[in-house]
Symmetry: D2
Subunit: 380 residues, 4 copies
Amino acid sequence: MKKITLLSICVILVSFVLSGQEVSNGVMRLSEFSQPQKRNNILIPDVNGYKVLKCDFHQHTVFSDGEVWPTVRVQEAWNEGLDAISITDHMEYTPHKADLIPNNERPYEIAKPNALKKNVLLIKGAEITRATPPGHFNAIFIGNTAEYDTDNSKKENDRLAVMKAKEQNAFIFWNHPGWQPGIAGSYEWLPFVEDLYKNKALHGMEVINGTGLHMKALDWCVDKGLTVMASTDIHNLINLSYDISKDYVHRTMTLVMSKDRTPEGIREALESGRTVAWASKFLAGKEENVRNLFNACVKLSPSFYNENGKNGVVKYYEIQNNSDLYFELELTSGSGTKRVVLYPQTSQVITAAEGQDSLTYDVVTTYVRSDKHLSVSLSL
Amino acid sequence: MKKITLLSICVILVSFVLSGQEVSNGVMRLSEFSQPQKRNNILIPDVNGYKVLKCDFHQHTVFSDGEVWPTVRVQEAWNEGLDAISITDHMEYTPHKADLIPNNERPYEIAKPNALKKNVLLIKGAEITRATPPGHFNAIFIGNTAEYDTDNSKKENDRLAVMKAKEQNAFIFWNHPGWQPGIAGSYEWLPFVEDLYKNKALHGMEVINGTGLHMKALDWCVDKGLTVMASTDIHNLINLSYDISKDYVHRTMTLVMSKDRTPEGIREALESGRTVAWASKFLAGKEENVRNLFNACVKLSPSFYNENGKNGVVKYYEIQNNSDLYFELELTSGSGTKRVVLYPQTSQVITAAEGQDSLTYDVVTTYVRSDKHLSVSLSL
Amino acid sequence: MKKITLLSICVILVSFVLSGQEVSNGVMRLSEFSQPQKRNNILIPDVNGYKVLKCDFHQHTVFSDGEVWPTVRVQEAWNEGLDAISITDHMEYTPHKADLIPNNERPYEIAKPNALKKNVLLIKGAEITRATPPGHFNAIFIGNTAEYDTDNSKKENDRLAVMKAKEQNAFIFWNHPGWQPGIAGSYEWLPFVEDLYKNKALHGMEVINGTGLHMKALDWCVDKGLTVMASTDIHNLINLSYDISKDYVHRTMTLVMSKDRTPEGIREALESGRTVAWASKFLAGKEENVRNLFNACVKLSPSFYNENGKNGVVKYYEIQNNSDLYFELELTSGSGTKRVVLYPQTSQVITAAEGQDSLTYDVVTTYVRSDKHLSVSLSL
Amino acid sequence: MKKITLLSICVILVSFVLSGQEVSNGVMRLSEFSQPQKRNNILIPDVNGYKVLKCDFHQHTVFSDGEVWPTVRVQEAWNEGLDAISITDHMEYTPHKADLIPNNERPYEIAKPNALKKNVLLIKGAEITRATPPGHFNAIFIGNTAEYDTDNSKKENDRLAVMKAKEQNAFIFWNHPGWQPGIAGSYEWLPFVEDLYKNKALHGMEVINGTGLHMKALDWCVDKGLTVMASTDIHNLINLSYDISKDYVHRTMTLVMSKDRTPEGIREALESGRTVAWASKFLAGKEENVRNLFNACVKLSPSFYNENGKNGVVKYYEIQNNSDLYFELELTSGSGTKRVVLYPQTSQVITAAEGQDSLTYDVVTTYVRSDKHLSVSLSL
């Protein structure tokens, strides 16, 4: 009898389990379709000895006009493989104040324990929100937010607010320049901006905000030595804005080439301008940075096959993208494969006529100025 | 000259656009990988003239211990094709109160305008949160939450709180029975529950909460005529708990067979017990409801081919799943295909020996009691 | 002892099964990632009482210059939800003849038993392969292929070959007109074509071949009453050419609006011209057919919400795509939502100013001529 | 006038292109949903200086009972990131011979040019197909197939056939031992097998064939020093058997730890037994090989956070899977996270009580014997 009972239990268990279910304390687990909690690492090789950190320094929560509790930003960042984030709620704009007590210290305080446990670097930040022009500035690595003047109805306070951030030794960047195209002068290098720049109170620009590449901002960064930044400026949920279910899709971010994975390393890299903006298929940044990144990610094999054609010998090469970035190349000089699409972690075979030293391509998914792609020479 | 200029502009525009970019006011759109905003309809045919509404009546926001603003619940619901939702924050548990002013009217008020514009039916609700046992009860179709006693330290208030919901003419269901297995008596049909039941202050049970099928709750619903409910009890983001990137994955929900897509229709259906719980690959509910749902979704074609084998004639049929549900069938009687897996919106070919009226299958991904699958007879 | 043994076996079995493995006869099944065999139904509602059959009448196998055995074409068709296919190997081009004995009867004979068992309608066909111009013609519903003259070096045989197909009562369409742009006259309405047309030996044109929409062919079909055809002309594997892993991606096909799912029904529909070409996001066909298809798939709800804005009342509607097709609409007249993207089986909310009878949109993912989209009026 | 015309052309072009279309010679490209041709690299770090080559040495074509032309096997291999393949058609079983002239030299000859151009290493092979027992043997690195005796009706030829392969200096492995469980003795270490083994005419065993892990074969390999092999034995299309649309799904393969990416390197590694079988989520092989592979792929970070709990200090670590393999770990000794699921290229946070040197886990998705998982010790 006992044996039969045991066998029955066994059979019942197996039969449940075969259908993908587990029973414990009268509750059957139907977890087949649940989302596994995991950090999805974004693969980018080191660039000349620097680690390439994935960073998003412009995000909102319910403490300004966002729609999530600060903890969500850490959870999203961990899932999507970010190394460092800032929560930068508007200091002067708190539309939820009927329900939520305004306090710009709270997003950082609330998110911090989660960040510590998930190994996500949380950089304290805030968005200085002034009427356009000049518009909004992000300050990260900031001190106490209570020190900021929050009355943004007075124009004279605009400068005071940004200079307060400078006093706190913040890293300051101009957000989405030209975001309100209807306002005259809003997309210009204003005296206000020139003043901050001269006084070393402006260190970077948001060249990409969400899905928008601010073309003038890229050129200003290149011409004036400002740091290229890219951020989501997310207010609701990342997965409602980005189709991250596809493994080749990532949120907009700043790639920071840093000595190590620490806040100090990031700060040094930002001050040295070692960043590339990444959004969708596209990279934007200073030519040197984009070139170094490309060279770290894309490798050409030696020729592995020669084919005798009617126009002479054609040599075969493998070109490999060792990263989760995307590159599209168009031939500008030489005789070889005209167009090369390098999806993340894939290779292509390209061919070249014998007797050439190199092929030259425009990497048309990169911008090193608003009107210029990175040009690369592949040595044969 | 002018012509050339125009042509150049044209070429530049085309060249940008070919790379998937559009430029407006100096901002280039990199929207290729952005998430399209859309309502993803869940396809389930009408069941005997009733519409099958997709409902989740147990969800949290920052107003209790959730991590999102109420508007997010509407946005998620719309994206995932839900017809009706309730936000049911804990009346008596408000861990964010240092930052957020407790007020159980607010989640409904804040979400309502978005729900109206998205055509998502928002049913006012709340979670009555008492110590276990008895634990938590959800009340939907409620009145003013200010009337509720929120001091849950006093045991005598437990009954008062639920009866207040009944006075407001709420539909009341017991949440996740047995959720704290360590507590003696927590998964029993307690006198407290019996009292509510007799006084018509208990109308349903959460048979599925998140990914847990509460087996006793299913049997109680079947035996005592309570309504079968399934809900997410979501606190953070749906996409962090459910792998909804896969098109065959949906959040846990109650399928409500309703005369029309209105709150009144839903109320009538809930009171009449016309529901099926759906989570992962599994359906649970009263046999009649699960059978009607299966019959609406799965159709067997007439035989389309006869094959002469050594053991006589074998007839071929097509079995079609016209829904986004999932069914797995195992033959229990008759001579034919032993196992049939019906993914959403797919068909299979099955065979049967000639000379039979029917094949009988257990639909092993359904539960009509904790220990019983739906048995279906397919007429040949 | 025995009890312990049984329990151990039980535990071992459960432990294996928990890891997703089943053991039988010393072989453990690791089937988690295997591809389920199933027919993925493509959902398109009936159009004015006609079933919309999914058909691909131009495919190759190893019997001409293809790379698969004929059975593969049936298996692919079943998986991808096709109703009817033709295998149309080149009669006069058999590059594998060193290994494979040329015989154009064999692809049909070999594929037939699989087609019968999978309920895929297999229409006998062949490609009449002449030098360009005129190029290639597909003949389906053909008789014995041995009757065809296969010497295509003689120009006078071009007409004989097509007329032989006509004698066999075939349905004949011109494949990929203009496919060799380098050849003068290859994309013209040649006397040769005119002669066939006048003699009722030309019934349709391949408006879409693979991923190419042959624009002149569409206009010829519209102007001369020929049937619009779309086909893959697949030589290797469907999944190497189409990214069918994404559930909204399908191979190129002809949508045939047929009285029933039979070869006879298809023949009647082809002769009556009730077809729409479908490839990628795009539909092409005669205006009446495309309009009927659109109307069957897309439904506008009554207004479900009114909003009082500063410019008057705005009414909200839900527009629903009940099909696996894709539609993109741009407003051409009226005051309302300017652009509507209708992914498969999704809905959007659109708004319209009060006091209008309708909004007019161009469905920019359709072509009813090479330079004209379908224009639809949505009644408010 | 001219300017307007140019502008119009420009606008028309842009308007087409915006919809994702390009027009050339009257043909519009609708390529949005087409499958990009690319090599999807499978990422596995080097193991102790050896490259981990992805190999499938058992595949069929139309030249025996497969359903594809030999070129397809190269195309599939390239797409799926394989380094080396063999086509191993049955020497003695040619069911397509009514249409196809049997010749076992042809699959290799036909596939070779494609393999050269795609940089896929093509190893000449064949399947020696004898009645069970003993069943089938694969021979790779073979010479001329014409030398083989193909009359498999005579039992005495079984040994002759395998010894002929040995004479040609082939690497020989026993395929799917026990594949016909109904035949007595078919899953035993037969005298026939012992004879081959003693005469060094048997070098490996197919431990995994398709989705079946042959448990006795694993133990035989471990006990007798034979090389562990895994292969698809594919007959139709890889994508019809494996759900490779999901990026974490790969076909069954042998991971060969080789000095370099050459046939010679592979041969040396096979003879040295440096292989691991990979199918679905599972790895099987000799303990040393599986351990080395695990150690190369999975890294534990130093502790990054300490938490003071009521039971003392808990330390936080990041465990990172740097490969496209999948690992599932269950704690067997120590106080820490009980279960760790490491999806490809992801990390998890694990915790451990302070004051321990290590945690010990069973890697339950590996088999180093039929009844034993790899046990790993993670140093804290």
